[in-house]
């Protein structure tokens, strides 16, 4: 209960600072919270733009698709490299090298392959979200204590049982971390994709407003 009060107080304080700062500075570039409802109303009423809800749904859909693919691919590659020792030793350096490349350099190619539509945004979201998931699976497998595996094997655990009852629970906390940062990066990927070249979506709306220098649209 107390914690909730503190949170609310923090939020109010942040809004107050924002409002005060916006009022003291240029009203064109800085929009305070008190003017937001009006601005939102205007966005919803602007005829030049398709309805905002459409953009929101499009972007959310792209994020969902990108994240689902990033998780599926990340788990698959992560477990493949982590559980097949030889495969892992061959491909892990490659994975690390690819991860070191700033993701955004791939985007022009992705736009050429997948076009200006949602596919290129999803591909970029997958690309960014994939690595944290894969790497967290690899790190998770490595940190499963060897004794736990030995104990389970000595009690006759078969590979699948070992995986479900020992490996997965022992890796859970590391993997949850990777799944979270994967989600954050998938969101970044989709939005940046829309900012860099799109005809719809939240990133497009932001870029559109930027082009017109409309901070409050």
């Amino acid at each position: 209960m107390k914690i909730w009060l503190w949170r609310a107080a923090m939020l109010l304080a942040a809004l107050a600072v924002w409002e005060a700062a916006a009022r003291m500075l240029s009203t064109i570039l800085y929009v305070g919270p008190s003017r937001l409802p009006g601005a939102l109303g205007r966005v919803l009423a602007t005829r030049d733009l398709p309805p905002l809800a459409g953009h929101v749904w499009l972007t959310l859909g792209e994020i969902a698709a990108a994240y689902a693919l990033a998780v599926a691919g990340g788990l698959w590659i992560g477990f493949l490299l982590g559980l097949r020792k030889t495969v892992g030793r061959i491909y892990e350096p490659l994975l690390a090298a690819l991860y070191a490349v700033p993701g955004v350099v791939w985007y022009p190619s992705l736009m050429l392959f997948f076009g200006l539509g949602p596919a290129s945004k999803i591909a970029f979201g997958v690309l960014l979200g994939f690595f944290p998931v894969t790497l967290s699976v690899l790190a998770g497998i490595r940190q499963v204590p060897a004794t736990l595996v030995t104990v389970a094997l000595s009690m006759g655990a078969k590979p699948w049982t070992l995986f479900c009852k020992v490996m997965l629970p022992a890796m859970a906390s590391t993997m949850v971390g990777g799944l979270r940062s994967g989600l954050a990066l998938s969101v970044v990927g989709v939005l940046v994709g829309e900012l860099l070249g799109a005809r719809a979506g939240l990133g497009y709306v932001i870029n559109y407003a930027y082009g017109l220098m409309m901070v409050k649209l």
Binding site: T147, S154, M155
Partner: protein, 285 residues
């Protein structure tokens, strides 16, 4: 048959002589180890860990493997539990060659309790039974029945991080006992505990043994522990580990370690272990 093949492949000629204490009686020994050897492959070439170990353990016997660190005691134990596959020789459990971990006959306890941190003490004890598809109510009943006499009443719902080192090891032992196997293999189970706890656990194990009548093979580097607990002590040489001597301990339990026989035995064991430990230390230098 696979072990016969392994023997042909990896056994040097001098290993080929038949083991002397082969069991041919109607009731086979719980554990019969015959001419077993193991080498580990390292980047700098194969390192022999164990060579020509032959040993027969009788029903309800408590045998300790004693020797300097790195002498392959744990490897021998791992081979009996078939976590480690021998390169040569045969291991028979109840007269049958081992082909993989057999939780119906053999249970293991390790130096690291290896409790699952996401399971309560009760669920840790039930783990092996769960793998054998024992119903949940029955698992609970067995686990409670084991934890109580181990002084863990009231700790059933605790997680391993909430237990002391000695308690954790007792839970680990309970987990092995829950399988109700005739054979219990213990790899320095009290090695990580402080001395007082270690002695208490030893006394407690003597009690468990009397109640449950199991055949126990116990790896240790503690002379006192070996003297206090064993029917027979197998002294192993420095690497590559082989059997140096087998010593009977015909003393009644509970054993007073300051009695004349125990002191004489300690001196005898120490002379042998000291010699091998020196070799082990010099070998590393």
């Amino acid at each position: 048959m696979t072990f016969g093949g392994a023997q042909l492949r990896a056994t040097p000629p001098h290993d080929a002589e038949p083991p002397k204490d082969r069991v041919t009686a109607a009731a086979p020994a719980p554990i019969a180890i015959e001419g077993v050897g193991k080498r580990y492959v390292t980047p700098s070439g194969p390192v022999p860990a164990v060579e020509r170990v032959s040993l027969t353990v009788h029903p309800r016997e408590f045998v300790s493997l004693l020797g300097p660190s790195g002498c392959g005691k744990s490897t021998v134990l791992g081979m009996i539990g078939e976590l480690v596959r021998p390169d040569s020789g045969i291991i028979l459990i109840d007269g049958e060659p081992v082909t993989g971990p057999n939780p119906k006959k053999v249970a293991l306890v390790f130096q690291d309790p290896g409790l699952f941190p996401w399971r309560t003490a009760l669920d840790n004890v039930g783990f092996g039974l769960e793998l054998l598809s024992v119903a949940s109510a029955r698992r609970r009943e067995i686990a409670l029945g084991l934890l109580g006499p181990m002084g863990l009443n009231g700790f059933e719902a605790k997680y391993p991080r909430e237990l002391s080192g000695g308690m954790r090891q007792r839970v680990a032992i309970a987990r092995a006992l829950a399988l109700d196997t005739p054979i219990l293999l213990m790899d320095e189970p009290f090695g990580a505990l402080d001395e007082q706890t270690r002695f208490l656990m030893g006394e407690w194990l003597v009690g468990v043994r009397r109640r449950t009548e199991r055949t126990i093979v116990f790896v240790t580097h503690s002379l006192h522990e070996a003297i206090a607990l064993s029917d027979r002590i197998v002294v192993m040489t420095a690497r590559p580990g082989a059997i140096k001597d087998v010593i009977d301990v015909p003393l009644p339990y509970p054993r007073a370690l300051d009695g004349p026989e125990a002191v004489a035995l300690h001196a005898k064991l120490w002379a042998q272990v000291r010699e091998e430990s020196l070799k082990a230390v010099e070998g590393q230098a």
